[in-house]
Symmetry: C2
Subunit: 563 residues, 2 copies
């Protein structure tokens, strides 16, 4: 596998900070060719077109200066900042029992990532979360980094922006945004999730029983970053989950999330009844020390609410939700996730692992949308998020699922109200059930709308949703589709500078600068491939209309000839 | 080419009328297998699942009883109704000069459709349009046909519906809906376009210079009908437009639209300045007598408004718009389409060809959305549509184009207001410019929203938009994507019975009745193909989650075991 990522006619650039001048905020700069016009007297005029800055999730992989060695992992960008704060210690060994067992098993030697650093942890009595610093009034390098990153093209083009490092700090302190940044994942570039920032997208990868090895998963992770995934969830449920995760995190330039209950269930051989708090707690520690940036935790499932789903057409469709519901019913007691929620928060505050409150009772079809089961869980999540914040743990709320368009707004408004403006992170929503094989599209329709209304991060859906595990091509389609939904939402919200890329691409289109049009596209490779599939004699039209019927050509004729 | 269309486990059924008992309203009925459950005592229970009726655009092609011969064309379903009204005459020969020239040219013999009937025309002084009958209080067989067609599953499931034959008549009389039904296209099954009905989609086919022959275009037409295209526009701009159109119309079970200015321009060798009213008029007659059900006419372009587009980033991006603008500027006069609009209406009222007022100044990029040029043209279209109605000519209004989400609502509200509730027919809108290669998706996001807000018909966009002419696979993707957008809008609008199919599919999904799930899908072939791409041991999960992590399986376990 060649891990290098190259974008056509793009340069990797690094912008410095002002509060933290040593910052190197990575962006992609797309160069454009100049516009050539010929006036009425036949004179040629050449007008340059400025470069366009593009939000870049590809990390060092797209930097030709970087020396990438997947066996060594990425440079530890954030390590000096983390250590510089003086509130963490390096542990003498991993704290998780299971982690030590895997470490000491010689049969795993051939699978193991070689360069594992010993984990960091906050000093006893201290909290090392970005929310903690924000509440203290501290603007960390991470905060300034994201402020610069969110403002692409603004400085160059003089566009006003509300996003300053201080604004970032305030949003984090209020819980309206989170900056997932486990101290044991210093390789990740800082990014922010909140409704007053660019809408982000998450991609899911991970093996399942019988499918996919480590190399394939790392390849999928890089692939996701190449196309624009802002965070990455490793949802592995197959073999060697611990080792797979280590390889992914060490090589991943974006925050990594997991659903720890999946691994816990694998540890008890798939027997839901054998899950316990102790086992789960050890899994959290194991993963916090590997560097997982956020955990999906289905603590919103309450014993007395489970049967609300009985009335549904499709019952419970969340994996974690169905596991925890079954556990509650078998043991006839409250879930250990709910009962130990404060313990979980206390633990996570020592690593800055954020909590994504999983929507275990999300609707799985149009008929079940916005029902009592779903909203009862949302109320519980609202209670839990404030408890997370009391521990300075960053948190956000997961959302549906399957929702018809006219019921989307209620989801967003209720979430803001009941969850005290904590960021919303939705799967889709899918707006009709009748198109398996096209659910990236059914869900992008809902995702764009809920993103516009205020959802901070959209979880991608691939064409294989409901049918099979996605392959690489599905991941690409899913990511690009969700970049479209997120960007459409940014335009509708009026994010500062969001329209710069649209305008540049449209100007290139109108001037038949095809290469610029491709290079500014979300998927330049596909655009170019489709264009070249047609037959054309010169560059001033495409086969869609042919030369005589090209409206842009006619329209330019009018201008050129001063009609 | 095998013209037969077969859908898995589906039966073609025909429902009778009440006012017109001889009606045979075609639908597709999808059979389902029963649900098998085993109770706590181990007893098996079998519960049948009712068949689901699906809106069917495939015409006789999906009827195994029908004998299809593309050389003879489809049965002339509406002919007895048309002749029975006693207001039309069969002409002794085609009236168009150009049509006679093509007829008499022996070099075209090998291309010519053999079974051309002589054209019908309304008796002098009579109008044979559905709007005319509606205003007179007459419920035609066409009107009852669409009333039954719109109410799939309602009668069987006892769902209330507002759509009665009388309601259809009222909507047509008010101009809020149209029923495109040229008297010379009796092969088409009646369908209705209006915001109080199911949202429809149009597909574009047609050759361009150097690409595609007649057989290929007919094949694309059938293909579009197979996947669900409600109307079909033949936008051919290449060779043998006249003959290609004849083959398409004679074999097309859905209404066919064209943009006559395209053929007119071909007739003058692509020289815009040589276009004239006489030439255009002859083209209208030629096409009315072939059976075109609606014409896009860019009569909203006014001489004094053309320069409003100068301020734009992308100028004029409508082909018809750019042609007419250039003509106005070259001749420095008002367009002949505008000046002769009453003549056009008078002509069309003799054939019941509807007018789709083309949006020649639609925005071609996000930056140009909702600008002065666009809205000035909308005002003109509002004036023209009332003039069409004075002639009892059915009419609708075309809309953008490229519009960011937050500007969509204004488009819809203004259109309703300025165009007196005439049906809106939009292209997309595309909600961001940055994703060439994925514009079926960027536009479906906008289409679903504007459909929900009231757009009556959505013009599909394929993945090749802006890049090349679509091939068959692109047509399929475009049609299915737009069926999704239209159906999502129907759900959000609460169209009677729209959710029946979603619920049936979701129930099948929850019960692992995979075949039912596929057969109820918009594209069962693709869904099945994706499912079978995964590896699974039995039918009760898919490779997305694997057996232990299938939420639906866990959720059903809970129910089964009475936990």
């Amino acid at each position: 596998m060649n891990p290098n990522i190259r974008y056509s006619r793009s340069e990797k650039v690094y912008l410095p900070g002002q509060i933290h001048p040593d910052l190197r905020v990575a962006m992609r700069r797309v160069e454009q060719v100049p516009t050539t016009t010929i006036d009425a007297d036949g004179n040629k005029h050449i007008t340059p077109n400025p470069p366009v800055y593009v939000y870049d999730t590809s990390g060092p992989y797209s930097d030709p200066e970087a020396h990438i060695d997947l066996k060594k992992g990425l440079p530890r960008l954030r390590e000096p900042w983390i250590l510089g704060r003086g509130d963490v210690v390096r542990l003498p060994q991993v704290s998780s029992e299971y982690g030590r067992m895997r470490r000491d098993d010689p049969s795993l030697d051939h699978l193991r990532f070689e360069h594992i650093a010993l984990p960091l942890r906050a000093v006893d009595g201290r909290r090392c979360t970005q929310m903690h610093y924000a509440k203290k009034g501290i603007i960390t390098p991470e905060m300034e980094y994201v402020a610069i990153r969110e403002n692409m093209n603004c400085r160059e083009l003089g566009i006003d922006t509300h996003i300053t490092p201080e604004f970032v700090r305030q949003e984090l302190a209020a819980g309206r945004a989170l900056l997932p940044a486990n101290i044991n994942h210093p390789e990740a570039e800082p990014m922010i999730i909140g409704r007053n920032f660019l809408v982000k997208i998450n991609t899911n990868i991970g093996n399942s029983a019988t499918t996919s090895g480590i190399e394939e998963e790392v390849e999928k992770a890089l692939w996701s970053c190449k196309w624009g995934g802002d965070t990455l969830m490793d949802l592995s449920t197959g073999d060697n989950i611990h080792e797979t995760r280590e390889w992914i995190i060490r090589n991943c330039p974006v925050p990594v999330g997991t659903v720890p209950i999946y691994q816990a269930l694998e540890k008890v051989g798939g027997k839901v009844e054998d899950l316990s708090w102790e086992l789960y707690r050890d899994t959290l520690i194991e993963q916090c020390e590997q560097g997982v940036d956020y955990f999906t935790i289905h603590a919103g499932i309450r014993r007395h609410n489970v049967h609300l789903a009985d009335r549904r057409l499709c019952g419970i469709v969340s994996r974690g939700g169905s596991i925890m519901s079954k556990w509650c019913l078998i043991h006839d007691r409250e879930s250990f996730l709910y009962e130990h929620f404060d313990d979980i928060c206390d633990l996570l505050s020592h690593y800055d692992t954020a909590i994504s409150l999983g929507d275990g009772l999300r609707p799985g079809c149009i008929q079940d949308a916005n029902d009592e089961a779903q909203f009862a869980e949302l109320d519980t999540m609202g209670e839990l998020v404030t408890r997370a914040w009391e521990h300075d743990v960053q948190a956000f709320i997961e959302g549906p699922g399957h929702v018809p368009m006219h019921k989307i707004r209620e989801n967003m408004e209720r979430q803001i109200l009941k969850c005290h403006e904590a960021p919303f992170y939705t799967l889709g929503p899918i707006v009709t059930d009748i198109a398996p094989g096209y659910d990236h599209i059914t869900s992008a329709i809902g995702a764009a709308q809920i993103g516009w209304l205020g959802t901070a991060m959209l979880c991608y859906v691939t064409p294989k949703e409901h049918l099979a595990l996605p392959d690489k091509e599905d991941v690409r389609t899913g990511v690009v589709t969700y970049k479209i939904a997120a960007h459409a939402a940014d335009l509708a919200k009026g994010h500062p500078g969001a329209q710069v890329r649209d305008n540049a691409l449209s100007k290139a289109r109108y001037e038949f600068r095809w290469k610029d049009q491709f290079d500014l596209s979300l998927d330049s490779e596909r655009a170019m491939q489709y264009f070249h599939a047609g037959k054309h004699l010169d560059g001033e039209y495409c086969t869609m209309c042919g030369p005589n019927f090209c409206a842009m050509r006619l329209s330019r004729d009018i201008k050129r000839n001063n009609l």
